[in-house]
Symmetry: C2
Subunit: 360 residues, 2 copies
């Protein structure tokens, strides 16, 4: 293994090294068949086996009920922002949205093209530093769904519990899928871009309850209908074969690590280490309210923007990469997804203490 | 290099081995920076350089004029079938389509959702075995564009010359882009899925004339507007970084081979070899009319379906893979894109002669 930097990037993000090694081998010569992975027809029995295995791993690790389809689509989570209301809403139909960050704001904008959108909660005025408690919003009975983003990458907030309100949840889990156990039956649609906890950019996982496949209005193009992809096992057209393959490799690794429950425990331990470092020293200040803190993206500030720039540069020189906060809020952010090693956090915490002692 | 099969698959298809080797190296450790290619933020300076280089290669190799944007989108060519009319048409607007195969038929179906579609030519009744001569169709003056598919992968037909009619062409070049020289200025939009002549599945190249970016109706979702992606250099959301990287590697290889004109000459030689083998023996019969023959996909039949099955199986055992015709027309098909080596065709031709001598 070459010397690796500690990659705190929010996505595309660090992946298990064993997955990279396996991908490198299969790219030039898939299972010694004399053909590279990315050269294989998506309809070859070899690739069909890869796709089937990947779907089976999603089902097993997330305990996906029988009445849900697992799809691998393109266009990123951003394409789900419009596909969901395009498929589920229409004239006279209503949905409720919780506005907890940039990605929900974007989703709300697209949804308004297709229905009557009720924004039942927003933390925009406090720089999206929290997610709501249950008693802070109401969901109209006529709402088709309650939409939320489970983890807000930019602001470092996360729903510790999912809402009990609303007849059906629709959730953007791009940055925390496979990081904790879930009760899928509460959800109508779960979607997630792969490039944080699952693999490379270029594929979006969609888990959709089967009865929703038939609600699409007639004028929706073929490629934008969930049913098109569900009916063809995500092979209506050529799927992003490499990205799907990588998701399968990452999920195999995740299973070897003990599955989602074991990963959740590790994520809690990893995040606790980092939040202790933030809270244990007046020099650092967490951005998110404590009850809303994310286990995936830890956001914090230093006393001044100048010190933040110095901190980030010094950290980078030591091999801690990607600590700069999103350009919309500044500050620092450490993204510590499933594949991020605990030792990287221990080392960062030590560096944070040193830096604070020196500059504080 | 491991022993490689001859991969005649229609796509995903064979790629230069040097590209596979380079990708394998960069996936585990990009330019020895201690981070894998697919782990890097799309906004890192390293990946931005990859994306810029890839765009520059497209511009240089295809001689793309200044007033065209080069985009890297997701969703496959199939998503362009609806995005084009969604962006360029609308109530009362008209477009003309030439129906020369499965992919144009699908494009026509989507276009009808957005405008008045005139199908000015169809070879469907003769199993799409030809493309039209100029005098076989007319284009209404009120048509916004004339739509065609330059090369029909399934049927093995290709436009040897592009139509002179219509004020502007819109063209699906998924299976012959970068295989021959072009005059881009005739086109409003050119698009192509990468998985035939450019790279792996998962990215679609779109070349669009700038003045078309402002014609999109207001109710089109953000992600489906060409302008969204043009304004952000294809980085409005996370792009499929690995696929874009691979396209850059393939185009670097193409440039080393002498560029598009040199590739065109080689493609003509390669196809001639194979068509001579088809024509030189009564045992084989080409599917496409001679004037419409494709340089990329050579389709042919044997005297009976049983002999075809035998031919395909025997060929596969010898390392000639993917010769089975598309399920919609049966028969045999040899896809010989840019990266397919001439020696593979020479060997297949020798096998065809042997097989005909034995069974004919």
């Amino acid at each position: 293994m070459p010397k690796r930097i500690y990659n705190f990037s929010a996505g595309p993000a660090t992946l298990p090294y064993s997955v990279l090694e396996e991908a490198a081998k299969d790219i030039v010569n898939f299972k010694d068949k004399g053909i590279g992975l990315i050269e294989m027809s998506h309809r070859s029995k070899e690739f069909m086996a890869v796709a089937d295995e990947t779907e089976a791993l999603v089902r097993e690790l997330l305990e996906v009920p029988e009445n849900y389809k697992v799809l691998f689509l393109q266009g990123g989570a951003s394409s789900q922002f419009f596909m969901i209301p395009m498929n589920l809403l229409g004239a006279g139909k209503k949905a409720t949205y919780l506005n907890t960050g940039t990605w929900t704001r974007k989703a709300i904008k697209e949804a308004k093209l297709f229905g009557d959108i009720d924004v039942a909660y927003s933390s925009e005025e406090s720089s999206f530093n929290r997610v709501p408690e249950e008693d802070e919003y109401t969901v109209d009975r006529s709402s088709e769904y309650l939409y939320l983003c489970s983890n807000n990458t930019i602001y470092g907030t996360q729903f510790a519990q999912f809402p009990g309100k609303g007849s059906m949840l629709v959730c953007d889990m791009s940055s925390d899928i496979f990081s904790r156990s879930l009760d899928i039956s509460r959800f109508g649609i779960i979607f997630a871009g792969a490039q944080k906890n699952m693999g490379p950019a270029g594929v979006t996982l969609v888990i959709i309850r089967e009865d929703l496949l038939d609600s699409t209005p007639d004028n929706v193009p073929t490629m934008l209908r969930y049913k098109t992809h569900a009916d063809k096992g995500s092979m209506f057209n050529t799927p992003p074969t490499f990205a799907i393959y990588c998701v399968g490799r990452v999920l195999t690794w995740l299973k070897e690590q003990g599955g989602v429950a074991a990963m959740q425990q590790r994520n809690e331990e990893k995040a606790a280490l980092l939040y202790e470092a933030v809270d244990g020293n007046d020099f650092y200040r967490g951005h998110a309210e404590k009850a809303s803190r994310s286990l995936m993206n830890v956001t914090f500030n230093l006393p001044t923007p100048e010190l933040e720039a110095e901190f980030i540069a010094e950290a980078a020189a030591l091999g801690f990469d990607g600590l700069k906060g999103h350009r919309s809020i500044g500050g620092c952010r450490a993204s510590i997804y499933n594949a991020f090693p605990k030792e990287g956090i221990e080392k960062l915490v030590a560096f944070m203490a040193e830096f604070a002692a020196k500059k504080g």
